[in-house]
Amino acid sequence: MVSTAPPQVAPRTAARRVKLLKTEVSRGTAWVLRAASILVPLVAWWALSASGVVADTFLPSPPDVWAAGLAMIESGDLPGDLLASLGRIGAGFGLAVLISVPLGFAMGTLGWAQPLLEPVIGILRYLPASAFIPLLIIWLGIGETSKIALLVLGVVFFNTLMTADVVRQVPARLLEVSAILGAGRARVASRVVFPYALPGILDAMRVNAAAAWNFVVVAELIAATSGLGYRITRAQRFLQTDRIFAILIVIGLIGLTIDITLRLVRGRVGRWSQ
């Protein structure tokens, strides 16, 4: 029987890697791809604006945008607006975290908090925060309070539910072990549940920080006298698309910085979970 088997293909296949659905690339390739991810759209933009197909007023060239950005930095507008937006994010997102993390923690641990809070938060989170802007202006005026309130509304419900989910994932066995070792409820909450859930809580914050960054710009588009969103509406009035582009890039870079910072913090805090 063996002799009748078809001749075997040379064992060239031995060196090949097994192809799984989730494939990996080498580190070098990954960096090349990362660079391409930024450079390809940039070059495409440059080529499109240089070709003259689209008028400069609609699609300014990268050098024009660079110049507009520098001009705004020199005049002091951009740094001022940036600080204003970051201040609002700090206050709004910070407040949302201060409310949502304890609330989510309670929902994940206390038996009565879950059925009490889940239905109402489940409804509230589907109401788009932007739809509250008119109401917030009527209630709180066009000052800082209404903008911070919008940020809080946009973040607090999602972050509460996500925190609750993370907290619920603490293994029951770990809670049993802790009780056997003499830890009371408060100790279990602070020394077991919280550290176990912390990396997941930071993950939730990272996702919702992006949402907060969106809402701050939205809030400033409507009614503001400072901030990056306000600067965009002003530039629109004078058809300064180069300025709009420069601000959009700044918004993107700040978002990236926030994301990387939270990722680093998460990596440090959650070293054990990797």
Binding site: R173, E176, A179, I180, L181, A183, R191, P195, Y196, W272
Partner: protein, 264 residues
């Protein structure tokens, strides 16, 4: 000065006892192993002693005091080590001592002693994720022993380990028991392990779980690997195996009857 269970039963579903009519007395310093077919309520028995569950009827008494909840006078280790993954090995062992608010110097000293006892001094600063399964289980046992419990409860602690590691761990737990002198109640599905380690083997029956046999193990001390090859050990192991097998068959027959009754 004993661990005593009187008329203990436990139902999770009303009318369906998992354990029933358990009367048991364990003397201080005894090493008792518990074997039984699946569904005999072995783990439930430990949970009742630990105070993680309350008996439906009857009482669990430790030194005459009724057990009403979990506490550091009863240490417990499970099949999964269930360590705190963000705490170093030393800080895992220290957890119970921190809860007791033991002074720092005393605590450090005790942790140092325990790590030496379980042979993990070199890993004091490591995170549990770095350790092998057997090492993790040693940490879990050291952590359970830290508060100097009167009873150490072990729920199939070596069930997930490979054969070699398991053998090491069996010698290890025997040594620790001799050094520490605490009472040990260990549940296992491995009859060989039960006979090798225990001074007494309890065989549980199923449907509901009852103590069907309470067998003294009259084997030479210390229990070395040679003891395990001797005729006395092999004979006793065979006897306990037959008992467990009979219970297992009876349990399966009962399940089959229930199945037929359900489908009829």
């Amino acid at each position: 000065m004993t661990l005593r269970l009187t008329g203990v039963s436990r139902e999770y579903v009303p009318g369906v006892p998992v354990l029933s009519g358990i009367d048991l007395a364990i003397e201080p310093g005894e090493f008792v192993t518990v074997v039984g077919a699946s569904g005999s309520g072995k783990s439930t028995l430990l949970c009742l002693i630990a105070g993680l569950a309350r008996p439906t009827t009857g009482q669990v008494l430790l030194d005459g005091q009724e057990v009403l909840g979990p506490g550091p006078d009863r240490g417990m280790a499970f099949q999964t080590a269930s360590l705190y993954p963000w705490r170093s090995v030393a800080r895992n062992v220290a957890f119970g001592l921190e809860s007791m608010r033991m002074p720092r110097a005393e605590r450090d000293e005790r942790v140092r002693w325990l790590l030496e006892e379980v042979g993990l001094t070199a890993f004091a600063g490591s995170l549990p994720g770095r350790l092998s399964g057997g090492q993790q289980q040693r940490v879990s046992i050291a952590r359970a022993l830290a508060c100097q419990p009167r009873v150490l409860l072990l729920d199939e602690p070596f069930g997930a380990l490979d054969v070699q590691t398991k053998e090491d761990m069996q010698l290890f737990i025997r040594q620790v028991w001799q050094d520490v002198g605490t009472t040990v109640v260990m549940v296992t599905h491995d009859v060989e392990e039960a006979v090798f380690l225990g001074q007494r083997v309890l065989v549980l029956s199923s449907d509901p779980g009852r103590i069907s046999q309470d067998i003294p193990v009259d084997l030479p001390e210390p229990r070395t690997l040679e003891v395990r090859r001797g005729p006395a050990f092999l004979a006793l192991r065979a006897r306990v195996e037959d008992l467990v097998r009979a219970e297992h068959r009876a349990h399966q027959a009962a399940q089959a009857r229930k199945g037929h009754a359900g489908s009829a």
